[in-house]
């Protein structure tokens, strides 16, 4: 298989996953009762319900409803928030920058701490530094993020009064949410990088390069690290899911006005149009992110581009 068909197959797979997600949302929406009442709220008038039925084609047979639903989604029409009757997409869109800010900083922290820590641990295998880094990373991903958040608030806001316990008014309010969102992933990245480095160090080519008289730092930079990068990049793809899940909890604890907090409040208020919009948005982001990671993988690993007879 050449690179072109690998890429094509991965793109098709991503589209297929998205189609399944949209279809499942349709199934859930339909099995939760009359979507008109679900979307408009229980105090909707019969006239509103009729209008909604007609608008969304709910007076049509089920297969046609499905097609109509699909068309609405493709046009970015997810219904209206029943709280202030603005389009759900608008309500969600204005929260996106905040979430990007927080998760972006979180991801940056994860990578800037996790990767060097993992490399350092692998190069000092078995020594005190390795033990400390491994222990810290196990702790990092064992402590639940909401508990870490509470500990941070207890120490930095309640005891020492250094940082505000929530909100997004000032620049420094992002510090505690960013630490919370990064902690678990940093541990995972550090351990994974460590394992990938150790795996690469064991390969025969390392000894071969060394035997040719290449200096150790160059062996590490030029031969070990690029090989360790491949599994680590895949790992980062998995972490994006954790980042979204982390955003839900972290934003809620710290009252950070992003999508995560929005979905929790919308679920509590049964503002289903908004919930549905966020689900589809998150799903497409995740699918796209995984696709990018897959393509990055093809680019990083020459074996993926070469013909692979047993993979056909």
């Amino acid at each position: 298989m050449d690179a072109g068909s690998v890429i094509l197959r991965k793109c098709l797979r991503a589209l297929l996953t998205l189609w399944i997600v949209v279809s499942l949302t349709f199934v859930v929406l339909r099995s939760a009762g009359d979507p008109a009442i679900v979307i408009l709220g229980s105090d909707a008038t019969p006239a509103m319900i009729d209008a909604f039925h007609h608008q969304w084609g709910l007076d049509q047979p089920l297969p046609i409803q499905y097609v109509v639903y699909f068309a609405h989604i493709l046009h970015g029409d997810f219904g209206s928030s029943f709280l202030d009757s603005r389009p759900a997409l608008t309500v969600v869109a204005e929260r996106i920058p905040r979430t990007l800010q927080l998760s972006g900083l979180g991801l940056l922290l994860m990578l800037c701490i996790g990767i060097p820590a993992g490399v350092a641990a692998a190069l000092n295998r078995g020594r005190a530094l390795d033990r400390v880094i491994v222990a810290a990373s196990v702790m990092g991903h064992s402590v639940p993020s909401f508990f870490l958040a509470i500990l941070l608030i207890l120490l930095f806001s309640v005891r020492w009064r250094l940082l505000p316990s929530g909100g997004a008014e000032a620049a420094h309010t992002i510090i505690m949410p960013a630490i919370t969102i990064a902690a678990g992933g940093t541990g995972v990245i550090a351990r994974f990088t460590r394992a990938a480095m150790l795996d690469a160090l064991r390969q025969p080519f390392v000894r071969a390069v060394q035997a040719r008289g290449v200096g150790w730092p160059r062996v590490i930079r030029g031969h070990v690290m690029p090989n360790a990068a491949i599994p680590t990049v895949t790992m980062i793809g998995f972490l994006l899911g954790g980042l979204v899940a982390g955003a839900v909890i972290t934003e809620t604890v710290f009252a950070w006005p992003g999508i995560g907090w929005l979905i929790v409040t919308s679920v509590a208020r049964r503002d289903l149009a908004v919930v549905q919009c966020i689900v589809l948005l998150v799903a497409s982001t995740m699918v796209l992110a995984n696709l990018i990671v897959d393509l990055l993988y093809v680019w990083l690993d020459p074996r993926m581009r070469a013909p692979a007879p047993e993979d056909a």
């Binding site: 797979r13 996953t17 997600v21 064992s142 639940p144 207890l154 394992a195 795996d199 979204v244 679920v267």
Partner: protein
């Protein structure tokens, strides 16, 4: 990942793993015997001793771990919460394992479109963070205990399905299974009596590795107020309401958090250790 810290220690039963087993054992005993162990009914109010601190921080033997804002005994409440959290996580894991294994076996047995559908659903679920799926289901269908347990159960079914499918495909090709088929055994009998015992070990390891995540899902949803509802109490909901009293009574939130962290830490240490021992199978 063959080189994990536990192997580096080079012992069969590292001290940390023993401690982890001991802690989990203690928690299970505490959860099972919660009503008998708790000194005071966890819903009983002691209005004279509101926000009393734990024993070591100036409290009394009356409330060893202090009380909350209406005088609930925190120790009793902690026991009751552990009981709820561990039960929900345990039942949830059972549901996920049963559902996933069944679907995996069905996919392996019938192949064709059924196989495609199961694998497509597994891919779709793996593509979205499960907390979003859980929140959606709760948004549409409400917060009932039964539904909540099912939602927690849906988490992770796809990992069991993948493992069960792959292992069933390789097991059914083996000689002894063919022999049983030739003897005229029905598919149900083959899968339950001959295939399942052979894949059970791997599935149990998978359950051990996934268990902390199930506990975290339950506590996170309860923390967000969308899981366990009052009068029942989970470690997550305890943390959530303790948040309002961080200034005056830190113990309400910190104690369940510490218990929870030790639980997930212990299970992941055990999981790492088991995975190291069974490395070739799970790689």
């Amino acid at each position: 990942m063959s080189a994990t810290p536990l192997r580096a220690m080079g012992r069969r039963w590292p001290i940390l793993v023993v401690l982890a087993f001991a802690w989990i054992g203690l928690c299970v005993v505490a959860a099972v015997l919660a009503p008998k162990l708790s000194p005071i009914d966890y819903q009983a109010l002691d209005l004279r001793a509101r926000l009393a601190p734990p024993l070591l921080f100036g409290g009394t033997w009356q409330h060893v771990l202090g009380t909350d804002e209406v005088g609930h005994d925190v120790f009793s409440r902690l026991l009751a919460s552990m009981r709820v959290s561990l039960s929900v996580a345990f039942i949830g894991t059972l549901i996920g394992a049963t559902l996933g294994t069944t679907l995996g076996f069905l996919a392996a047995h019938f192949r064709g479109w059924l196989d495609d559908v199961v694998m497509m659903l597994a891919d779709a679920q793996a593509a979205i963070p499960f907390i979003i799926v859980a929140l959606t289901i709760i948004a549409f269908f409400g917060t009932s205990l039964a539904l909540f347990v099912v939602v927690v159960g849906l988490y992770g079914w796809q990992t069991y399905a993948r493992l069960a499918r792959a292992m069933a495909l390789s097991t059914t090709r083996r000689g002894y299974v063919r022999a049983v088929v030739a003897l005229g055994a029905r598919p149900m009998r083959i899968y339950l009596r001959h295939v399942l015992p052979n894949v059970a070990g791997v599935l149990i390891v998978n359950a051990t590795i996934g268990f902390p995540e199930v506990i975290l899902l339950e506590t996170a949803l309860s923390f967000l107020g969308l899981g366990i509802q009052p009068p029942l109490s989970s470690l997550g909901s305890m943390l959530s309401y303790g948040r309002s009293y961080l200034g005056s009574a830190w113990w309400i939130a910190v104690l369940p958090g510490v218990v929870l962290s030790f639980c997930t830490l212990s299970v992941s240490l055990i999981g790492d250790w088991v995975r190291d021992r069974l490395d070739p199978i799970l790689r």
